[in-house]
Amino acid sequence: MALFIEKPLAFVWRDFINETSYKFSFLLQFFGIFISTLIFFFLSKLLGDTGASYLKPYGGNYFSFVLIGIAFYSYLGISIHSISKSIREGQMFGTLEALLVTQTGIPTIIISSSLYSFIWASFRVAVYLLLGGLVFGVNMGNANLVGALLILILTILSFGSLGIISASFIMIFKRGDPVSRFFTGISTLLGGLYYPVSVLPEWLQNLSYLLPITYSLEGMRLALLKGYSLSMLMPNIAPLVIFSVIMLPISIMAFGYAIKRAKIEGTLTHY
């Protein structure tokens, strides 16, 4: 198998063995998925048709709306946090130095270190959607899976670039990365995770359109719940493309600078 696949797979294999060795915690995660789905199911029953007008563009059902929100929001969290987390863990556990003297480039190490989190998140999303569809009656019969996949990839790319910038902060300052804190907080508040953006005051709505999460979640809901075609999804796809095209090169440059500075200061493995 080509080496460029083998190395990321080795990281996934390492993390899988590590995670499954904590058996209780591993099993507990499945339980957590079920509980959170159940919580939102009952919340949606309580709300009933209260917010129907706001939810109309997404099919009018709060449970479907929030289920897709929480399912895909995890990608945002992972994209932003997992790279810096893997650096921080490598620094703290002492494994980073051993990784850095191998014949694997730093970008491969860093990106591969977060792969398991993405796979696990995808698995969680699949379980969320299955539970939603089979147990709680969420209708995704018309879903545009290609559109959803495209939006997912663009989401990962755009948030991944923020994650790389966040990792650059961690590489230099070790703690207190402002990027992930700011974007996670502001995205949760304004991105339309638990409620549609349309419930926000107009000035906050305008702010929300500066965030990629807004386009990601809306695009994902429209693709999965309403089966929008690719052309109909363009208002959501285009901003994500622009965001990725601008932010990815910036983030890679920032990361390169951070590594060089850490090598000069000798703090590559400090924490």
Binding site: E6, R14, T95, I264, E265, L268
Partner: protein, 341 residues
């Protein structure tokens, strides 16, 4: 001549982390500490080269520069003729780095799984990795414990696994940063034997090792460099270093029940340099004299002749060699005195 490791006026300065007060009052002021200063060393291929120095001397910094983990401030460093600042990828292919930190492994993976993971990161295909790992486990006498989680390994086993990891790519040069640190004396001895006999003797590797253990340096290394406060004080074989630092010879003469007058006369001997008398030893050879001669061509014969001529009864005489430890302390003491400590 192509050296395994060569440094030319290698200097490394680290910025000192600013305090809150400095951040506010002098935000643009930067202070640096010198970790390495004009380091010049040459390690030949196939030898065990030891970097000997106290904690904080700059040993780890030097090894990390050679392993491309830290960039030098000035000067040059070459590994197998490759510049460390320009050939990171090529250097990583020919070196093995034995990190002595046991946290550098994944504790919930087995020894074998850890090695397999690092083999993949070193571009070793699956089949070859399995064969290499099996061979290395056997080489390091870890075969029976290969499938135990790393967390259940003893410190000695962890260190052996670290060496096995360093050997995964069959590197030409192996860097070891204090490999016997925190090992008990017997395990450390076994590990030294393994490095000398198997890694260098059988596998013909070049080993560049840092240590603060003088006994280890003396026992293991073909040549050593004594490093202190970032500066290499002296380089050579242990014998060469001893000769350079201590050209005089010391002899211990045991005398049988000497009279006071005799001892006084010995103090005044012109043929001897420094004389130290240690009386009240066990009967009958109850007095020990340490004589330092400045001329190795027979002056001890003159001393002996004069003592006998004055009526002294010599029980025994032997040459006393300064241990590397004593020489090392002399280097450090001289340095400290010069620094006004």
């Amino acid at each position: 001549m192509l050296y395994a490791v060569e440094t030319l006026n290698l200097t490394k300065r680290f910025p000192v982390q600013k305090r809150y007060r400095d951040l506010l009052l002098r935000p643009f002021y930067s202070k640096e500490i010198t970790a390495l200063k004009d380091v010049n060393i040459k390690a030949r291929k196939g030898e065990i080269f030891g970097l000997l120095g106290p904690n904080g001397a700059g040993k780890t910094t030097l090894i990390k520069i050679l392993c491309t983990l830290i960039l030098p401030t000035s000067g040059k460093a070459f590994v197998n003729g490759l510049d460390v600042t320009k050939n990171e990828k090529k250097i990583k292919k020919i070196i093995g780095y034995v990190v002595s930190d046991e946290r550098s492994f994944y504790w919930r993976l087995t020894g074998r799984q850890n090695l397999f993971f690092f083999a993949k990161l070193n571009n070793i295909p699956n089949r070859e990795a399995s064969i290499t790992i099996e061979r290395l486990l056997e080489f390091m006498e870890l075969t029976h414990d290969a499938d135990r989680m790393f967390k259940d390994y003893s410190t000695g086993m962890r260190q052996k696994l670290a060496i096995a990891r360093g050997l995964l790519t069959d590197p030409e040069i192996i860097f070891m940063d204090e490999p016997t640190r925190s090992l008990d004396p017997i395990t450390a001895q076994n590990l030294r034997k393994l490095i000398k006999e198997k890694i260098v003797g059988e596998a013909k590797k070049t080993v560049f090792i840092s240590t603060h253990n003088l006994h280890e340096a003396e026992e293991l290394c073909d040549r050593i460099a004594i490093i202190h406060r970032g500066e290499v004080k002296i380089t050579g074989t242990v014998e060469e270093i001893k000769r350079k630092l201590d050209p005089n010879r010391r002899y211990v003469i045991k005398l049988k029940n000497p009279q006071n007058g005799l001892l006084q006369s010995i103090y005044n001997l012109t043929s001897a340099g420094k004389v130290k008398v240690i009386p009240d030893g066990p009967f009958p050879c109850n007095t020990q004299i340490e004589v330092e001669t400045t001329d190795s061509n027979g002056s001890i014969s003159q001393v002996v002749k004069e003592i006998v001529g004055m009526g002294g009864d010599i029980c025994s005489l032997y040459e006393k060699e300064l241990s590397l430890e004593e020489l090392f302390l002399e280097v450090i003491d001289t340095e400290n005195r010069m620094a006004g400590r």
